[in-house]
Symmetry: C2
Subunit: 305 residues, 2 copies
């Protein structure tokens, strides 16, 4: 079933201990869309500048992603650059040029509005709310946010979260949002803010799902080499919502099927792990459905007792 993804389509400059790339395709909507495209029909809403390269457009199109909502504006595409620490658990932002993204007011094409699934990438909460309001037939909506919105746009964010079915967030942001260090109690507080399904991402340590009457922990996948973690969290989100859309999960008919949610967290972890195996979106150029399923089965092996 079809899925609308909203967020940035950008160019990134990234340096990790394994190398340096000055400019490559990136952005939350790019990673989410590519990862989700292994499971569902994806429709992207984003803005790019007149420097956006045809080959990058073609990569997205080659994964069957609907690009009717990819607005082209005069000016340059959003550019971000960052550098990772030696252990890659920290990164420093070297440059953020919003460019055309500064005036992004996402407007959904008519053909997107009846889509049942919506993933709101990390953008201003008010814009996220505006997108949700344009959808006519939602089954499941949710997304991501970050420390900046939590700290400086709290009231707006809380108003936005009230309408979400799920929130994907990393552990330090969960603690910040809840004002509570203990994760179990932080999760309870956040679920009271609206999203009944909460996924707390813990980087290399995996993710934890909190939902009605259920808690589930997915381990991180141990890679032999982490080449570039950029986009791993967004790829996780893409695998998660993509799988739910593929299964046609419908919480209106009762609480989400917990089995589907658990498996969605594993597929999220699978897509996040592949993302780290190469710079930027490179791994998605070659990744096959068979490799995705193989890694899903590895997760089974790693956790069964």
């Amino acid at each position: 079933m079809s899925l609308v993804v909203v967020g940035s389509v950008a160019y990134d400059g990234v340096e990790t201990p394994h190398g340096k790339v000055d400019r490559m395709l990136g952005g939350a909507a790019t990673y989410i869309g590519l990862a989700a495209s292994y499971f569902a029909a994806v429709k992207i809403v984003a803005v790019v500048g007149d420097d956006f390269a045809p080959e990058d457009y073609d990569l997205l199109a080659s994964r069957g992603i609907d690009l009717e909502g990819l607005e082209r504006a005069p000016g340059k595409t959003f550019f971000w650059a960052g550098k990772y620490s030696a252990d890659m658990n920290e990164r420093e932002t070297l440059c953020t040029d919003l460019n055309v993204f500064a005036d992004f007011r996402p407007k959904l094409p008519e053909s997107y509005r009846p889509a049942p699934y919506l993933l709101l990438g990390n953008i201003q909460p008010e814009l996220q709310r505006g997108v949700r309001a344009q959808m006519s037939n939602l089954r499941l909506a949710g997304g991501d946010t970050m420390n900046y919105w939590i700290r400086d746009y709290r009231a707006e964010l809380l108003e936005t979260l009230r309408e979400w079915d799920f929130l994907l967030i990393n552990d330090s942001e969960a603690r910040m949002l809840a004002g509570e260090y203990n994760l179990r109690r932080a999760a309870a507080k956040i679920r009271d803010m609206g999203p009944r399904t909460l996924v707390v991402k813990r980087g290399e340590y995996g993710a934890i799902l909190f939902a009605d009457g259920c808690q589930f922990t997915a381990p991180g996948y141990l890679l032999d080499r982490v080449i570039d973690p950029t986009g791993a969290g967004d790829s996780f989100a893409g695998g998660f919502i993509g799988y739910l859309a593929q299964q046609g999960v419908d919480p209106a008919g009762g609480p989400c099927d917990m089995r589907d949610l658990r498996r969605a967290v594993i597929y999220g972890s699978v897509m996040g792990s592949f993302c780290c195996e190469a710079f930027g979106v490179e791994r998605f150029r070659t990744l096959t459905q068979g490799e995705v399923e193989d890694r899903y089965r590895e997760f089974k092996t790693f956790t069964d007792f």
Copy 2:
């Protein structure tokens, strides 16, 4: 089946955000022994001073622990004091008085020598090797070490590790021992040093088991309140080896049964989680077999997909 545990029996002073205790029973062998006593017949080898309190002796005895190897020497019992950071992920050692432990040369009672299982708590590698040499009928031997021995007693430690079937170690120490940041590659290097079974402990994030042809990840148990993490790693070790001893695991008849090893890691996690629920060894005063089994089942629920 019976299990010999070697390590410190000590008094600890501990401060956490939940309170402060000036002096309470502690030490690696104490935690390992208490945790293992839920699964197997435990025999402790350690030394205490003439200040060791009868009620502390009685607590160990009440769990059926054989104390013939608990030597009493003139002087004071080993004392350690530490203070945890607000998030309890770091701790500062305030005081280490080795006292009678400084001259500890573990000598095994005759009745201990035929025991098939041996857990060497974190003491000087040469002493660990000496204990192993006194055992006459070993099936499975291994233990713990720490950054101090890895850094300053490396050659001695490597000689000791060569004889071990398993090593339990935390992630930063695994990286230090292997000289390799990537955990998967660090594990391969360490397993080449001797211990074919390696458990990397990751604190609140759980543990990873590496063994022949197998990798297994156990999540951390999310507690509502972590009162005092002192002894959690040793309690993990006690649950791990205790379960293997209970099952009578015998790697001489082929590689360890992976199912037993996986379950041993879960029982280790279970015992580590209980340990954190109260100061020092307090939780073991009331902990029942039924609670242990209930939490084991919770781990099943948290990880099944």
